[in-house]
């Protein structure tokens, strides 16, 4: 059987763990290694998508458009993708990214708000791009509901719609039923994007593939938000062992992870105390480093901050509420100085 299409997002989701400090050289090296190893799509953008460089999410060290161009120049076969979150990025940045060489755009909304993406899908299709829909924080809604939102994206022109487990909160059955629900109604492809907060990155991705996912995501060494993503080299190796037909080179991916990415990683994302709390409480994985920083600054346990953010049903992109919750918890503790 044919393997699902693999999209590597080391240079986008990995941007969170790198605090958006990727250099041109790192991007060139990673892109080259992935291209050589036969990965067909590489995503390169600020972690929060085009125009994500901000006080809210962290400033990019290098302009993401320059990084996109760097990646495009480094590859021979792979397509370069960019992420776009309507509400943060706009068609203006999408147009710029297209002029710098992206061939795929992944358009992400909170899984209840697909109808804010119509103008962006419209432009992507008009300009001849492949357009992928991203339903973020998919654990927050039931499969049938997600299927309706996916249908909206399909009607706007999506070539594929992803179930995105932004919080790493899904269990294998939850991943599979959601993918199956989308497969049941869409004419276009279905994808799955995992986070490893509960240690289920590979497990959930395999469950999604078994349920029919046509596309899956990974990052080398799992470099990404929270406890990181499904490791590209791991999912590549396991799908190979399962007997799927594919065009990637497992050993080349192991080398890329070990010798290209690991040396510049500031830390190895793993399901540690605070990351597990993210998956358990169902909050956006990118909150991790912000909660750690503010917890330290205001002497509040990051775990408490993350659990409270889950209780308040925060969604993708609400990093500003981390300060709000931290200040409230600090006041309650009487430790605010």
């Amino acid at each position: 059987m044919k393997a699902p299409r693999l999209t590597d997002t080391t240079l986008r989701d990995g941007s969170h763990a790198m605090k958006h400090q990727f250099t041109r050289q790192q991007v060139r090296d990673v892109a080259q290694a992935l291209d050589k190893a036969g990965v067909p799509v590489l995503e390169v953008t600020h972690g929060d998508g085009l125009a994500g460089s901000s006080i809210q999410y962290g400033f990019s060290r290098t302009n993401e458009l320059d990084l996109i161009e760097e990646a495009r120049d480094a590859v021979t076969k792979a397509k370069i993708a960019a992420l776009l979150l309507p509400g943060i990025g706009t068609r203006k940045e999408l147009k710029e990214a297209i002029s710098r060489g992206i061939q795929v755009v992944r358009i992400a909304t909170q899984c209840t708000e697909a109808d804010i993406s119509q103008q962006h899908f419209g432009m992507a299709k008009e300009m001849g791009l492949e357009a992928v829909g991203f339903l973020m924080m998919s654990h927050m809604r039931l499969p049938e509901f997600l299927a309706e939102q996916a249908l909206l994206m399909e009607s706007y022109g999506a070539d594929c719609v992803y179930v995105v487990d932004s919080a790493g909160a899904l269990l294998p059955d939850g991943a599979a039923t959601r993918v199956r629900a989308l497969k049941g109604v869409l004419k276009v492809q279905v994808g799955f994007h995992a986070h490893n907060n509960l240690g289920l990155g590979v497990g959930n991705t395999l469950a999604a593939v078994e349920a029919g996912a046509d596309q899956v995501d990974g990052t080398l060494r799992g470099l990404g938000a929270g406890a990181g993503n499904t490791a590209t080299e791991l999912i590549a190796a396991t799908l190979d062992k399962l007997g799927f037909e594919h065009e990637w080179d497992v050993f080349a991916l192991l080398d890329a992870a070990e010798f290209v990415v690991a040396p510049f990683m500031p830390f190895q994302p793993i399901p540690d105390r605070d990351s597990i709390a993210i998956g358990y409480a169902g909050v956006y994985s990118t909150f991790l480093l912000h909660a750690k920083r503010l917890g330290q600054q205001y002497n509040v346990d990051p775990l408490e901050i993350l659990v409270e953010l889950g209780r308040r049903k925060t969604v993708a992109g609400q990093e500003d509420w981390i300060l709000d919750v931290t200040l409230e918890l600090a006041k309650q503790k009487g430790s605010g100085e």
């Binding site: 049903k313 509420w321 709000d324």
Partner: protein
């Protein structure tokens, strides 16, 4: 020109009988000031908004702008229809000498934020209320920039999904552009950035805004900034009672691409008055409350001119 009114009031009308028009109607009826609301006009004969207006003793029409054009005593017209419709209305209202207060994104006249720049546009025939995020955040950006140079301001508006109508959803980029422009042109930031997030939590969240002001240097007069911000919050609260900062402004020193800078963070919450729309919809309330305030200031201006002449 006809006299404003015998009873020292200026006649006003609302175009658009949807949720925004209805909430504005309730606000003006509750606190008319120097305005007399004489008409609510829509285009749907079966509109609930029109029925509501009638039950409150306000003339209601489904003939759109025509009854306004037919009544020369109406001097101020609030337009709560759509950008598309307002482009048509703006021309007719201007030709017939009426003042248009535009709540749509059409922007045929200058953007106004009542406590910041309305005074400069009080003789304009058409003013626009920019966006809900702009009404909420531009005053606080201005409060900082009037104290110290402000190279960069960034705002995040988070609103309840239920309070975001199809107009906002289909044009979310325009929210971003218009609000960012407002931060620069009216707020006084050299560069502005706006982010909007829809949150579907149930029960719905109150409208929240975070304002980040990145100052030129590390060395700033924090007390003067806090005082200026507090004064501005009071000024807005005078017409938007549910406008409040959750905390005193927070000062941090951050590393930025331009070096170490002082960052001021303001966490703002806007609770709606619940006149017609639910109180969580602070984003809609601040639009109708600002519109009423702009209307009142125009009405005062008209009356003062007539006394002089």
């Amino acid at each position: 020109m006809t006299s404003a009114s015998l009873n020292g009031k200026v006649k006003v009308a609302i175009l658009g009988s949807g949720n925004i028009g209805s909430d504005l109607m309730f606000k003006i009826l509750r606190e008319p000031g120097h305005m007399e609301l004489t008409l609510l006009s829509g285009i749907e004969p079966q509109s609930e908004g029109l029925a509501r207006a009638q039950s409150l003793g306000i003339n209601a029409s489904y003939e759109g702008i025509q009854p306004i054009l037919d009544d020369p005593d109406i001097r101020i017209v609030f337009d709560a229809t759509s950008a598309h419709a307002h482009i048509h209305h703006a021309k007719l209202l201007r030709e017939s000498g009426r003042i248009a207060i535009d709540l749509t994104p059409a922007a045929r006249g200058p953007y106004v934020i009542p406590p910041v720049n309305l005074g400069a546009h009080i003789d304009e025939p058409n003013v626009n209320l920019t966006t809900c995020g702009g009404q909420a955040t531009v005053p606080l950006v201005y409060a900082v920039s009037r104290v110290t140079p402000l190279p960069y301001a960034e705002i995040v508006s988070t609103i309840a999904s239920l309070s975001a109508g199809p107009g906002t959803r289909q044009n979310i980029d325009e929210f971003t552009f218009t609000t960012a422009r407002g931060l620069e042109a009216i707020g006084g930031a050299q560069h502005g950035k706006a982010i909007i997030i829809l949150n579907p939590a149930d029960p719905p969240i109150l409208m929240r805004n975070t304002i980040y002001a990145l100052l030129e240097s590390e060395d700033v007069d924090r007390e003067a900034i806090v005082k200026s911000v507090e004064e501005m919050v009071s000024a807005v609260r005078a017409y938007v009672p549910g406008y409040r900062l959750k905390n005193e402004p927070v000062f941090e020193v951050r590393d930025t691409p331009e070096g170490r800078r002082t960052l001021v963070v303001m966490l703002l919450e806007v609770t709606g008055a619940g006149d017609f729309l639910p109180s969580y919809a602070g984003n809609l309330d601040i639009m109708t409350a600002s519109a009423r305030q702009v209307g009142e200031m125009f009405a005062n201006h008209i009356l003062s001119q007539e006394v002089v002449s």
